[in-house]
Symmetry: C2
Subunit: 379 residues, 2 copies
């Protein structure tokens, strides 16, 4: 129940352990087509350039920036947590100019500030932001942000690492131009793969580059020879065969459940967890309207020894919860309810473990957490 | 029995299917230390910067070039197959100047040409070459090439994707400065991870860069915060937890067998395969002195329908062999004897399958292949 990797369903682990076959084997090519089709369904897009990058989410981020940013390009980057800062690093390392729009950690991106940044920089080429900030548990309004980008004739790059599969995400409906995600959050697949998608407009921008993409491994022009279209596949790199078996199975499971049902499940268990935490006297960091159900930032109460508590949860309950990052280190816990880990069993375990461990540290905790959570489940 | 991914031992697949735990979990950190120690043993190096890049070999290649090449740097690149060409792409995409030393595909790198390239370019900063060319089955003299680099005050970058675990490789003894490999060849681990190592001299060069590394994901300065030294690990990216379980198990198995024993096993089965192929009347592409035991390029005889034969092997024997690449497409097969796939059983299967399938195509094939191979095993 940390910020990811989340628990992996045994079906996905079993798929991953199937015998490795060749990355150009006809059976594998068929599976690649299925992975692409399922990624499109989960991301709600018809983008032809939709595929899993053969590396973790950070490489998916880099795939978006390295292909779309050329030296001198202005990119408006929203930062309201750790990952906006990483976006800035990407922009600058590829020769772009990052125009930062900063919001306090734990709050959503302020649309008015983004409008103002475009007003001051009408030549900005790209707007980049994080849909679901894993470092704080905040959801920003991706649809509204993409609309602002479109109104200003800019492309949008969206970090959907933690949102995909956990909350609503609609690539074509919202007009997202480039998006990267991760397998180890709400898809509940082992980490190591990053689904990405590029709109036709974004593909045109990549094709019209004045300079070569400063990466051979992530150049979409090359990778699409292997993942693109139908028919003959050209060798680019050796795909991580078993990791893709796992991704395939996790997408099958998500579509069996149904996207909307998965989003509803994340919300239900979040409501139960929240009710239990509040019954104990704990507070959530993020305003209710902007909360992610899959990542709950909880303020650490007075008198708690943070590191000792997290160690005790791991040792006594085999339960991982996340520490605060950056400005929030020592101030919050980050409790994940992601994918296969988003269950009633985990909610009740977490409430019980927190209650008992805080009491063992001599901290005053109100009773009634389990009852409050159970009431949510009774509806 | 293609050019990789090779067959994966069930022990490694079972390790990969263990439950996913956190990438900062104390148990996982302990395993990371073991992976590093075993990589050092297998590569015969004390380099502190020795770690698995969280992506396939192509990303390991990019990790070496993106960190060491700055705009304007001259890099002498040896090309005697596909992967030298990919090195050139890397050099040029990072602003370097590639000075190409070309040898015919299927032959080893000519040391005299490399000496001449340094004589003409005494300011070359790096010599880059492929130790074991997977596209042709050629071994070049890595020790002699590194000596030439040292004599010219240049760093060496070595592609050891197919050599690691299959033939002698001695990073410290040969004075290699930067090396990348892959998991899916003679380590017989699923594809997706690339072991790399950088000498102290190479690390100094990275630290003294005038420009930032044009990749956030592959910047060794950052990655080492997670993989480096002992003690506290800083979050960089989410490591591919299950893929590292698999790498750990494959390294345990290789060290159980013993490096020298593994090299001898690769040579033994290569000799048996060769004896069988020659008994059939087939010819190997590469001169005996330069042959890789783990990748056998076999000239396709007159009258054989290459694609139909490879399909028939796959359909009738569940046997994959590799097609020729680039200039060798349609002219050779590439038969892998790598790691867990390098067994007597596979040698005999391959000889039998080739003999019968060629005969079914109406091609004249001499009898006695199985006997000739068995004779090698009898010693």
């Amino acid at each position: 129940m940390g910020p990811g990797p989340s628990d992996v369903n045994p079906r996905v682990l079993a798929a991953m352990a199937r015998p490795t076959i060749g990355h150009l084997d006809p059976e594998f090519i068929t599976m690649m087509d299925e992975v692409k089709a399922m990624l499109k369904a989960v991301l709600k897009t018809n983008n032809e350039l939709t595929m899993p990058v053969s590396a973790p989410g950070s490489a998916g981020m880099e795939a978006c920036f390295v292909n779309l940013v050329e030296p001198g390009d202005k990119v408006i980057v929203c930062q309201n947590g750790v990952f906006g800062g990483r976006m800035r690093e990407n922009v600058e390392r590829f020769g772009g100019i990052a125009i930062m729009v900063e919001d306090e950690w734990g709050t959503a991106i302020d649309l008015a500030k983004v409008e103002a940044a475009f007003a001051a920089n009408p030549d900005a080429k790209i707007l980049a932001f994080v849909h679901a900030e894993t470092s704080t548990g905040v959801r920003s309004d991706a649809q509204a942000l993409c609309k602002i980008a479109q109104a200003n004739n800019a492309l949008s790059i969206v970090d959907a690492v933690t949102s995909m599969g956990g909350i609503e995400l609609d690539v074509d409906g919202w007009g997202i131009d480039a998006l990267y995600s991760g397998t180890q959050k709400c898809l509940s697949c082992p980490p190591g793969i990053s689904p990405v998608t590029f709109s036709a407009k974004a593909v045109e921008v990549v094709k019209a580059r004045k300079s070569k993409v400063p990466s051979w491994f992530l150049d979409t022009n090359l990778v699409m020879g292997y993942w693109g279209g139908s028919g003959k596949r050209a060798y680019h790199h050796t795909a991580p065969v078993n990791a893709l078996y796992a991704l395939h199975e996790s997408l099958v499971m998500l579509l069996e459940e149904g996207l909307e049902n998965a989003w509803a499940r994340h919300n239900l268990h979040h409501q139960a967890l929240k009710a239990g935490l509040e019954a104990m006297g704990l507070e959530l960091l993020v305003d209710e309207a902007d909360r992610l159900p899959q990542l709950n930032s909880v303020k650490i109460p007075e008198g708690v020894d943070d590191a000792a508590l997290r160690s005790a949860l791991l040792d006594n309950y085999s339960l991982e919860i996340g520490a605060g990052l950056g400005a929030l280190a020592g101030k919050v816990w980050r409790i994940g309810l992601m994918g296969a880990g988003c269950t009633r069993r985990n909610v009740m375990l977490c409430l019980d473990a927190l209650e008992n461990t805080m009491r063992a540290q001599g901290v005053q905790v109100n009773a009634g957490a389990a009852d409050a959570a159970a009431k949510v489940y009774q509806g």
